[in-house]
């Protein structure tokens, strides 16, 4: 192998140091705090306890959890249903137009979701575009109460997170070997059969990747309910934020973060398992 030069040590060392210092150690601190006892003074006392986790599985938190999970899950399902045909059609567009279309797709992906949330407020507010439009058509007699509802939060999550579903799906649909579809068709498979037995299993990694990129932020993006939902609707993100900034219960906020992180690891593991299955198992047998 290569000689151990000074350059090598700098390149390897800086990488290892940065990740250890600013990723691994901070995560470990969160894990450590989740086992400590909250102190009335706003800090913690160094007494080991499982109380935070007990509290997390108490009814009060479970209600927040349930609402947040339901919201995140429905956001994931709706974005998946909307994005899948979109990504599929995008792969079926001639190369020259597709380049431009993809660029137009990527721009919202990278645009600040705060600004995109703000744009929704303009549309949804009482004297906003949507109400003005519906009033002028005569479909409604007085402005609808669109903003500061659960539906507004849901719309906001779908709107800001849709690009995060589209891109992984597109990447995985693009890799799909179209010869497999042709072969299946030649062998007499119907379209639904082709979809459920070939296209869907082969794009499963993309579906999982997209779902992860939508589901996790949908639990955590606290400013969307803050801006669109008023005080009533609450995500796990709002809960965590409040534990740190309002309630001063760091162990509880930490344990909620730990649970969120575990969830992320599960989803990532699922992604790797599914993509490995395709690369090394099924795919080889098919070819």
């Amino acid at each position: 192998m290569e000689k151990k030069s000074g350059f090598r040590n700098v390149a390897v060392g800086s990488t290892l140091c940065w990740i250890t210092l600013f990723v691994v150690i901070p995560y470990l601190i969160v894990v450590a705090y989740s086992f400590l006892t909250p102190d009335p003074s706003g800090t913690v006392s160094w007494i080991f306890t499982l109380d935070s986790y007990r509290e997390i599985f108490s009814p009060v938190f479970l209600i927040v959890c349930k609402n947040s999970f339901a919201l995140a899950l429905s956001t994931t399902v709706l974005t998946l249903l909307a994005a899948y045909p979109f990504a599929f059609f995008l792969t079926r567009i001639s190369e020259s137009i597709r380049r431009t279309l993809i660029l137009i797709m990527i721009i919202p992906f990278w645009t600040s979701s705060l600004i995109r949330t703000y744009a929704l407020i303009i549309l949804l507010k009482a004297n906003g575009i949507v109400n003005t439009f519906l009033l002028s058509l005569g479909w409604i007699d007085e402005p609808l109460n669109l903003l500061y509802t659960q539906l507004a939060v849901f719309t906001g999550l779908v709107y800001t997170l849709l690009p995060f579903m589209i891109l992984p799906l597109y990447a995985s649909l693009q890799k799909l070997d179209t010869r497999l579809i042709e072969a299946a068709r030649d062998l007499g498979a119907t379209s639904p059969r082709i979809f459920f037995h070939i296209i869907l299993p082969l794009t499963l990694p993309g579906i999982i990747a997209g779902s992860t990129m939508v589901f996790l932020p949908a639990l955590g993006l606290f400013y969307i309910p803050d801006l669109l939902g008023g005080a009533r609707s609450m995500l796990i993100g709002n809960f965590i934020k409040d534990q740190f900034l309002v309630a001063g219960n760091w162990p509880l906020g930490s344990s909620a973060s730990v649970i969120l992180t575990l969830l992320m690891f599960l989803l990532i593991a699922w992604y790797f398992l599914s993509s490995r299955k395709i690369n090394q198992g099924d795919m080889r047998e098919v070819i």
């Binding site: 290569e2 350059f7 940065w18 990740i19 600013f22 901070p26 705060l114 600004i115 992320m264």
Partner: protein
């Protein structure tokens, strides 16, 4: 029929994504503070932005942080991508998977873990902690962008450089880096955009002494809609538009 449906559906999703942004941009030129109706074209909201001292200061702060964090993240990330590609070292696989973990982890968990880390080591939150946080969340995007290009390399080129007596540093500087340049610039631009737009991580890792634009916008929006915010958001959207377009063209060019 099938073709028509395909194009109609694509158009529908694009409209869904872009109509709110377009409305925002149009309203930033509307000569009325409260009305939803079009009252004539004006630049006055943009002019007012420049006169708003605290806002301009937050904007300058954001630019400084975005510029320096993306530059440091790009240097570090390019070195990392090269290290992951060329060297075998203890913890290589674990570290590389952590790059993905950072990219996927919810912003709120990252923000909180960094906040607790800074408190534990006794750093008070402000410009320095914000910079460290931004470098950390930009780093994976640079590593992944650069690594995608480096893994397409012909390894023989590196061997040739070694055979001709180049040291590792020389080889990196004169052979690898020039070939990586489009990906390096793309990584920088993406980091710049990420840093400029970040709300959640900044929310936890900066202090009252150092205000940045997205947080300023966040607190303004909570108080209600103002035409000045429309103008400001339009400016930020245009900045993302330019940086993302350029970086996309750089990455697309290398794949051609």
């Amino acid at each position: 029929m099938k073709q028509a449906f395909k194009y109609a559906y694509l158009a529908f999703i694009y409209l869904f994504l872009y109509i709110p942004i377009l409305v925002l941009v149009i309203y930033s030129f509307n000569d009325s503070r409260f009305s939803t109706n079009w009252q004539g074209f004006t630049f006055s909201w943009y002019a007012q932005l420049f006169e708003d001292g605290p806002l301009m200061e937050a904007f300058a702060n954001s630019l400084i942080i975005a510029f320096s964090s993306s530059t440091i993240a790009t240097i570090l990330g390019t070195l990392s991508a090269f290290a992951f590609y060329r060297y075998r070292f203890i913890g290589r696989k674990v570290t590389y998977s952590f790059i993905y973990v950072v990219m996927m982890s919810p912003d709120i968990v990252m923000g909180i873990s960094l906040l607790m880390f800074f408190i534990t080591v006794g750093l008070s939150t402000g410009a320095a902690t914000l910079l460290l946080a931004h470098i950390t969340f930009c780093l994976p995007f640079v590593v992944v962008t650069v690594y995608a290009r480096i893994s397409g390399f012909d390894r023989n080129i590196l061997d040739a450089a070694k055979d001709l007596g180049a040291t590792e540093r020389r080889m990196f500087r004169h052979v690898v880096l020039p070939m990586l340049m489009p990906a390096v610039i793309a990584g920088w631009l993406l980091s710049f955009t990420l840093s400029l737009d970040d709300v959640v991580v900044s929310f936890f890792t900066t202090g009252p002494s150092f205000e940045v634009l997205p947080l300023k916008i966040y607190s303004m929006v909570r108080l209600g809609i103002k035409p000045e915010i429309n103008a400001l958001s339009t400016v930020m959207f245009l900045m993302s538009l330019v940086t993302v377009t350029v970086s996309h063209l750089l990455i697309a060019k290398e794949n051609r």
